[in-house]
Assembly symmetry: C2
Homo-oligomer: 436 residues x 2
Amino acid sequence: LDTGIETPILQEVSELHPADIAEILDELTTEHASLLYKYIGKEKSADILIELDEDVRERYLDSIGAKEIAETFIENMDSDDAADIMAELSDKVKEEVISHIQDEEQASDIVDLLSYPEDSAGGLMAKELIQVNVNWSMLKCVKEMRKQAEDIDNVYSIYVVDNQQKLIGTLSLKKLLLAPSTAKVEDVYFKDVLAVKAYEKSEEVANIMEKYDLVVLPVVDELYRLIGRITIDDVVDVIREEADKDYQMASGLTQTAESSDHVWALSKARIPWLVIGLMGGVLGSLVIENYEGQIQIHPEMAIFIPLIAAMGGNAGVQSSAIVVQGLANKTMGFDSIFSRLFKEFSVGLLNGVLVSALIFGYNLLFSDSWALSLTVSISLITAVVFATLLGTAVPLVLDKYKVDPALATGPFITTLNDIIGLFIYFGVGRLLYNYF
Amino acid sequence: LDTGIETPILQEVSELHPADIAEILDELTTEHASLLYKYIGKEKSADILIELDEDVRERYLDSIGAKEIAETFIENMDSDDAADIMAELSDKVKEEVISHIQDEEQASDIVDLLSYPEDSAGGLMAKELIQVNVNWSMLKCVKEMRKQAEDIDNVYSIYVVDNQQKLIGTLSLKKLLLAPSTAKVEDVYFKDVLAVKAYEKSEEVANIMEKYDLVVLPVVDELYRLIGRITIDDVVDVIREEADKDYQMASGLTQTAESSDHVWALSKARIPWLVIGLMGGVLGSLVIENYEGQIQIHPEMAIFIPLIAAMGGNAGVQSSAIVVQGLANKTMGFDSIFSRLFKEFSVGLLNGVLVSALIFGYNLLFSDSWALSLTVSISLITAVVFATLLGTAVPLVLDKYKVDPALATGPFITTLNDIIGLFIYFGVGRLLYNYF
């Protein structure tokens, strides 16, 4: 591709699905991408723009004028996608683009949407929807829907509003097809309708749509007037991002990092947790330094330092992951914090006893120091139980105080439990070596 | 609730959304649940059954007969949900239930669906869909759709088939509304349609629907004949499960564990990785035992054991998480494995030098041993670089050999890097103490 793009290749590429073309464009230089863009129709290039990587899109939009952005792209997009793209532009360019939009209704829709925070229902919704008045007949519905449908690619739901534009129900397509054309909407519409307020958090929107298996969800203002709708494909991105974010935190990454990012971005995402891990290591070294005399007399104690530290870390991460996932998926049930801690105490004790028994058996066979064998096993049980309880309690407490519980997973809980494990190990060791 | 359920409460609960009722039922005893069930209409109880926790559902279905299962539940469900429920029953009960289904077409649909693996497109799809023949007129379409729609709750897409039942396109509702009633389907239908084969893996289905922002996806057989459709709400569960699975693996959980599970289940999900961590700890102890003489002479070396081990572990988990997520989200770009490793080498070196400089500064201030300060810093760089490379290579190699790359994250990569870190630390230490 670097040797220049031939016309036949251009032709072939331009017939692919927008999402596929976007993937190819992400890998090309800006000049090659512009070249390719010229071969593609307006509506399709708008679809492609939405699918591009954010930084590629930014570079491309910087290279063209506000007029072209408005005419080639924004005017061929649904209002939600247009608003998303506009939100990425600088305020100056944004104003210019808006002034170039021919369709005044679309311009006003976009300005409306830009007023909502990105992570709210308003930030996810599109303005395009089909609505019918409760007093209309089926015939009138079909007539009005024909008008409305001109702007809309897919009809997912037909919303029923009253004379104040308040959302009062939905009309199923099935009913529209089955009812006689003289029937009134009020006789056949479905009165139960779930809706969200425009300022609802997008995670909450995702939870509602997932829980109730919804494909589309209407958005209302404070007076319950219908102002837009959210489709599940936009929410899938929210769900994916949320799950990815928890996974990244658990793995010690502080920001979204993709393996295609540059070295500097990849490094920056990892440094914070590495430094925190380093500080944890320093604290751990202070604990051990405190017991240096003991190690000089019993150097064999050093042997099991990594084992105790690692096991505490593992047990803590396991518990915290269960809590974080339970909170994210709302599958925590109705247990109180104390009954939950008691349950985790049992799990920790059970697992602690099991692994301690294993290591005790191992030491019986290969070690000749009773003091060491007992120290390792007793401190292992204690460390695992402690780590399990901490792993459960810390995310629950964070969640209670509205801090993201995922912060408590991964490096943080591992480091904390490393240090506690070391304290327990040397404390138990000092005690036991006096007796044996 | 344990003191018995009052009728007014029953009344109120029965008016909630099925998903909410299911959440309440999950927390009740089987007798209370049965009591509540009697108050709820047939169609609604079918919707509730689908939303119940699997073990609660199993207990409930065991308590009623095959005839009741068929008449109360299966007959009021879409074919995909019915097949999912049936798949959970024993073969004997399954046959009995099928024999009790009155609607023969539904029974045959369910038997069809049960023949596909659970994690395939066929296992996700439903049979209910709206299809029109390419030769029909709009008027005939509306007439036929009226018939078909009786079985269907929501119409997402109208599929166009030829005389051989082969899927050849879609008819948008918009076109149906806008076109004159004498127009033929062949003049207005949309010829580009994405479909999947019935035996396609469900992860692949999820990837396709996510990438192309689809709400519904038709399923075809080997001859491209239309046999069903998958809606995004079922795929959202696949996406969620997949993301959860990677997160659980990274956190050292071997199976889905929810905090509402029993102690035994919670313990079982954690034991395997704890035992593997224990074996890693034992291997680590063997490494240190090997250098016990050195620790006796220089007990201060023990101080930084946990720091080196933890930092290697952290760096490894960070790299592997980026790779695993890149593979799951298909955002790896087109780099070769070597250019990727070279990039990670740079990142590891950068981060390694930074944290080593920090700890070197710390040791300059607080330690009087040049040998120790140099040993810690040099082995820290080396351990971080090694861990970064391993964290990148292992999941890539696993993926190449069709093993789930998520296996390489969490406890496994941490443990491996713990051991390697210890080797490096004592190796470097032995070398440097000869010179200082």
